[in-house]
């Protein structure tokens, strides 16, 4: 039996937060002692450009992979997808503090998104380092994932053995007794490619760009219409693409606000939902119901329009307000005749 190995990658926090560094170090120290794992450390995933060694290393991993980062798992998963590092979504059991009631927004809906493309047959698990404050739960979860990954690989090998002449498989095993991956893709172990530790950990510059969750994106193009900085484009198959990420304006999450499916993430943004948080409250982060209870906070679209105007003006262009890129929404509004409820609301507003 070939040895099955699982790649574990820890993506460091930006900056030098001592508490975060301490957790990173204790997680890595514990994982190195575990059998069957290839453990590597890279800088903050979101900041890795195509030339960064850390990114090349990630690209070299072919088998199942666990990525620990200071990002929401959904954000980490789709940043990897954006970088062409794809796989099936591995379900982690490390989740926000127990939410065991029948919270309605959590009900899994059939995915309306267009999905990713060219997804290889391997799993990527993303774990959020903000969920727990000591290394044990992570080590335990990675052990569980390693077992799950191994079981899957063995099942696959058996299936392959059943359908292929056995001698081929045995031959392969003799050729690469230790490093071959059980899934037959013969990926070199991380250490084998000799990425220098120094290059791997080189601090990248900060980046700012939208990350698309294709499990949600319906290709509706509202973001292309709304963004006036040419960030978005289409790929060869007319799928939405973040084409010119460097055109994106640092700190501006406006397109994320206008996306009807909440498919656009800015993993570095302060508001959890825009940074890729799961639906509903996240750990200690709470929903702000002020608007529901009568407060006059701006709605998402007005906020997005204001943010876009600010960036336009900063670029020496004219502000456009709501006149550009909201055509679909505006026309929808105008076309819908008022129903009884609208009339009721109008009456109440008049009364107020």
């Amino acid at each position: 039996m070939r040895r099955h190995r699982l790649t574990v990658v820890l993506s460091q926090a930006q900056g030098k937060h001592p508490g975060k560094r301490a957790l990173e170090e204790s997680v890595v120290a514990a994982l190195i002692m575990e059998p069957g794992l290839d453990v590597s450390v890279i800088p903050f995933l979101y900041d890795l450009g195509p030339d960064h060694t850390g990114r090349m290393f990630l690209e070299s991993v072919k088998g199942d992979m666990v990525v620990l980062s200071w990002l929401f798992p959904r954000a980490a998963f789709w940043i990897l997808d954006r970088d062409g590092i794809r796989g099936k979504h591995g379900e982690s059991l490390i989740k926000p503090a127990a939410d065991d009631d029948d919270d309605t927004p959590e009900t899994p809906e059939a995915s309306k998104g267009i999905g990713s493309v060219n997804v290889p047959d391997r799993h990527i698990y993303c774990l959020d380092l903000r969920e727990r404050n000591n290394h044990e739960p992570y080590v335990e979860e990675i052990r569980r994932i390693a077992a799950e990954s191994k079981a899957r690989a063995e099942a696959k090998t058996q299936a392959a053995a059943a359908s292929k002449p056995q001698v081929v498989d045995l031959g392969m095993a003799f050729l690469k007794p230790t490093n071959g991956h059980a899934n037959g893709q013969a990926a070199p172990a991380a250490t084998e490619l000799k990425f220098s530790q120094e290059e791997l950990l080189k601090t990248p510059g900060r980046r700012w760009y939208p990350v698309i969750d294709y499990s949600r994106c319906t290709n509706c193009m509202e973001c292309i219409d709304f963004c006036l900085f040419g960030v978005y484009g289409l790929d060869g198959e007319s799928r939405l693409l973040v084409e010119n990420q460097d055109n994106c304006k640092k700190g501006c999450p406006a397109c994320s606000r206008v996306c009807p499916e909440q498919a656009i993430m800015f993993p570095d943004y302060k508001t959890p939902a825009i940074a890729g948080a799961p639906v509903g409250a996240v750990g200690s982060l709470k929903i702000d119901l002020t608007r529901l209870f009568g407060g006059d906070t701006k709605d998402a679209v007005s906020q997005a329009v204001a943010e876009r105007d600010r960036e336009l003006v900063a670029d020496g262009r004219d502000a456009v307000g709501t006149t550009v890129g909201l055509a679909k929404r505006q026309s929808d509004k105008a076309e819908t005749p008022k129903d009884d409820l609208d009339n009721l609301m109008d009456a109440l507003d008049a009364e107020f």
Partner: protein, 149 residues
């Protein structure tokens, strides 16, 4: 009392008694001691879940205007500023809630009432109108729960 109505929030049934009127900020109101008594609807309470902390920024016998901020609430799931449901004078806040706000969760339509007010020009709804109001806003509310405020 006539059977209460229920509004389905996914699988959760928010009960809406028929013996009172409702405001757009998800408070109910009911005559009491010659005034109007206000409290959170089960819809609001379901969104907030367990109330940890309730604070009023105005005192008893205060004249308030519609949508004037009057307090703040923090719960297991949410936080929010609280606003006056109409113009008028808030005569008294429910004193027991300041000790222990859990009555809001336990008995939101009874002992968990929030304040009593001499209300003027209240734009309130019947229970059926409030049901329709919830229905119309439910998709938006779910989007808001996803966090895109």
């Amino acid at each position: 009392m006539i059977e209460p109505l229920t509004f389905m929030m996914g699988k959760y049934a928010a009960v809406l008694p028929t013996d009172r009127r409702y405001c757009r900020n998800h408070m109910w109101m009911q005559p009491a001691d010659g005034m109007q008594r206000f409290g959170f609807t089960s819809y609001a309470i379901r969104l907030m879940q367990d109330v940890y902390f309730l604070d009023w920024s105005v005192g008893d016998d205060t004249n308030v205007k519609l949508k004037q901020q009057i307090g703040h609430i923090e719960t297991s799931k949410a936080m929010s500023d609280l606003f006056a449901p109409c113009d008028g004078m808030i005569v008294r806040f429910n004193p027991s809630l300041l000790e222990d706000p859990s009555a809001i969760n336990v008995d939101g339509y009874g002992n968990g009432w929030l304040f009593e007010m001499q209300a003027t020009g209240v734009g309130s709804m019947t229970v059926e109108e409030y049901m329709a109001f919830l229905d119309a806003g439910w998709e938006k509310t779910q989007n808001m729960l996803k966090g895109h405020m």
